[in-house]
C-alpha cells in the first residue's frame, strides 16, 4: 500500500512538473511577431564568438527624458545580471548630438570593447561608424533606435513603432465610432520612432474617412510641451476636439490642459505613470501601449549570445502590453488599467523590471 501511494505521488509530481515546468519557464511571447509578415531572419554569429569574460560598451543617444533614464538603467541591469560574463561595462551619453555620439563610439572602441550596444541619436548619422565597427570585427547591437543599413548591425532590439501608431489610432477611431475631430501630438520632428508612429497612425486614418485631423504638432515627448501645445489647440479649436492621438510622454501634459479646460475626450499614450494614474483618477477614456524600457536588458542578453556565437534574430521584437480603460472592437486591454497605474510610484516612472537599487527615484 505504502509503495503504491509513493508511486502515485511520484507519478503525479512528475506529471505536474512535465506539464507546468515549460509554462513556468516560458517567456512572454512578443505578439508583434505574429503580425510580422516576413519570416524571422536569424543571424549566424559564429565569426564573433570569443571566450569571455567580455568588455561591453553601450553608446546611448541621451538620458534627456524619463523613458531614456529608465532605459539606461535597464541596460545597466543587464550588466548586473551577467557580471560573471562581463568584466567591464562602459556607458557613454551623447546628449542627443549625433556628432558627439560618433566620438563616443570611437572612445569605446579605443577602450577595447568586445561588443557595442548602440541606441543611435540619428539613424543615418551613426550608420558609417557602426559599419566601420562591424568591419573591425566588433558586433554592433542596436537597441531602441537602429542605424540605416542592415549590414551595420547584427541585431536590432525594438518594438514596432508603426504598429504602436496604428494601435493607438485604431482604438481612438473606434472609440469615436468612426466619426469626429482629433488632434495629433507627435514626438521629436525627424526622429525615427516619432515619424514611424505618426505614419502608422495615418495609415489607419485612411480607413476612417470621417475622422478628421484638426492639427498635428510635435511636442518633443515632453509633458510640459504637450500641455503648452494642447492649451493653444484648445484656444483654436475648442470643443470641436473629440479625441487626442499621442504616442508618448506629451499626452500626460495634454490631459492636464484638457482637464483645466473642463474637457474630457478619448486620449492615447504610453506607460508613463503620470498618464496612467491621471487617466484613472480623472476618468479619461484612455488607451496606452508601451515601448518597453526593459529592451535595454534584452540588448545585453543578445550581445552576450552574439559573443558566444549563438544565432540571434536580426530584428528582435520585444513583448509589449496594451491597456485600455474601455475596449473597442479590435483593441482589447491585456489587463485591468489599475494594475498598470501605480499610485505609489512617481509621475516620471515607467513600467520596468528593475531591482530597487537601480531605480532612478
Amino acid at each position: 500500500m505504502k509503495k503504491t501511494v509513493t508511486i502515485i505521488v511520484a507519478a503525479v509530481f512528475l506529471l505536474t512538473t512535465m506539464v507546468f515546468a515549460p509554462m513556468a519557464m516560458a517567456k512572454p511571447f512578443p505578439r508583434s511577431w505574429l503580425w510580422n509578415s516576413t519570416a524571422l531572419q536569424m543571424m549566424d554569429t559564429s565569426k564573433f564568438a570569443k571566450k569571455g569574460p567580455y568588455v561591453v560598451g553601450f553608446s546611448n543617444a541621451s538620458i534627456s527624458n524619463s523613458w531614456r533614464v529608465f532605459f539606461e538603467r535597464q541596460v545597466r541591469y543587464g550588466y548586473e545580471l551577467n557580471k560573471d560574463q562581463i568584466k567591464r561595462y562602459y556607458v557613454t551619453d551623447a546628449n542627443d548630438k549625433p556628432d558627439k555620439q560618433i566620438a563616443d563610439v570611437e572612445d569605446l572602441l579605443a577602450k577595447g570593447v568586445d561588443v557595442l550596444i548602440l541606441s543611435a541619436a540619428t539613424m543615418a548619422a551613426l550608420d558609417p561608424v557602426a559599419r566601420r565597427t562591424m568591419r573591425r570585427g566588433i558586433p554592433v547591437i542596436c537597441v531602441d533606435r537602429r542605424v540605416t543599413s542592415d549590414e551595420s548591425f547584427v541585431s536590432f532590439i525594438t518594438s514596432s513603432n508603426v504598429a504602436q501608431g496604428r494601435a493607438q489610432m485604431l482604438w481612438l477611431a473606434e472609440m469615436l465610432g468612426g466619426r469626429g475631430n482629433i488632434v495629433m501630438l507627435g514626438g521629436i520632428a525627424g526622429s525615427g520612432p516619432a515619424e514611424e508612429r505618426r505614419s502608422g497612425g495615418e495609415e489607419i486614418l485612411s480607413a476612417f474617412p470621417n475622422v478628421k485631423v484638426l492639427d498635428f504638432q510635435y511636442a518633443n515627448w515632453s509633458p510640459a510641451e504637450g500641455k503648452r501645445i494642447m492649451k493653444a489647440l484648445i484656444q483654436t479649436h475648442g470643443r470641436k476636439i473629440n479625441g487626442i492621438w499621442g504616442d508618448g510622454l506629451q499626452t500626460s501634459g495634454a490631459m492636464e490642459a484638457m482637464k483645466e479646460a473642463g474637457m474630457k475626450v478619448p486620449i492615447t499614450g504610453d506607460h508613463l505613470n503620470a498618464f496612467l494614474v491621471r487617466a484613472q483618477d480623472w476618468g479619461f477614456p484612455a488607451m496606452s501601449i508601451d515601448f518597453p524600457v526593459s529592451m535595454g536588458t534584452d540588448s545585453v542578453e543578445i550581445a552576450l549570445k552574439v559573443l558566444r556565437g549563438e544565432p540571434v534574430p536580426h530584428i528582435y521584437e520585444v513583448p509589449r502590453t496594451v491597456v485600455c480603460t474601455q475596449d473597442t472592437e479590435n483593441i482589447k486591454t491585456d489587463m485591468p488599467w489599475s494594475r498598470m497605474a501605480h499610485k505609489d510610484w512617481p509621475d516620471e516612472a515607467w513600467n520596468n523590471t528593475l531591482p530597487k537599487n537601480l531605480l532612478p527615484y
Binding site: 556607458v91 556628432d99 566620438a103 579605443a110
Partner: protein
Amino acid sequence: MRIGLLKRHSAVFIVYVILAILILTTGLLSDVFLTFRNLENLLRQVAPLGFVSVGQTFAILTAGIDLSIGSVVSMTSVLTTGMIEGQQQLVLPVLVLVFGLAILIGFINGTIISKTGVHPLIVTLGMMSVVQGGILLYTKAPTGSVPISYDFVAWGNVWKIPFPILLFASVATIAIIFLRLTVFGRYVYATGGNEEVARLSGIKTGRVKTIVYMICSFTAALTGIMLASRMGMGDPLVGERYMLDSIIPVLIGGTRLTGGVGGVAGTIGGIFIFIILSNALNLLDVTAYWQWIVEGLVVIVSVSLYFRQKR
C-alpha cells in the same frame, strides 16, 4: 628679452601648461589614453571644432562674436549631402556652391555690422535665426548622402596621419601667419584694440570686420563639410552645439572678449583641452551628469579667468 616674450604670451603659456598637465594626468589614470588608436581618434575629433574656433578667434579679436556660426555649420552639412545625394560628379560643384553661400552669409553679417554699428551679437543672432529657419524649410530631418570617396575627408589617412588633422593644421597655420605676419592681421588687432583709434589711423575697420566675418563663415563651412563626411548625411541641427562650443576654446586660449588680445595659437591649445577633457571623461568612465558638470565648470572658470585678467 626672454622674460618679456614669456610675459607677452603668458596666456598661451598657461594654456599649454594646463594642456600638458591634462595629458599627463589622463595618461596616468587611463591605460588607453596614450594608445595609438585613441590618439588617432583624438586627432580626428579635433578638426570639426577646430575650424569654427579658429574662425571665432578672428571675430572675437575684433571685439565681435559670431553666433550664426552654428547654423552655417548645419546649412553646409545639409546642403552638401542633400545636393550631392551620393553622386560623385556633383561633389566639386556643390562644395564650391556651399562655400560661396557661407562666405556670402559672412559678407552680409560683416556689412550689416560695419555699416549700421549694431552689435555683432544681435546681427549674428538674427542671422542664425534666418539661416536655421531656411534649413528647416529645406528639411526637418537628417537628409542626403555622400559618395564613398567623400569618406576620405573625415576618415582618410595620409602617411598614417588622419587627414582631418592635416587639414586643420594647414588652416591653423595659415590663420597664424595671416594674423601675425600680414598687414591685415595687424589691422584685425588694431580694430579690436581700439576701433576709433584704428579708424583715425586710416584703417578701414568696416572692411576688416567684413572680411573677418567672411573668414568665420568659411571656417564654419569647413566644419559643415567635415561633419557631412563624418556622418555620411546632413543633419539640420548638427551645428547647434558649435555656437557655444566654438567660443569656449577661444576664451580658454586667452583671447579676450573685448578684442585686440589673443590669437590662434592659444585657441589651438584651448581646442585640445576641450576635446581631451571630453575624451578623458569617457575613458575614465565618468557618468553623463558629471560630464555636464565638469564641462560647465570649464566654461565658468575660463570666463572667470578672463574677467580676472580684465580687472
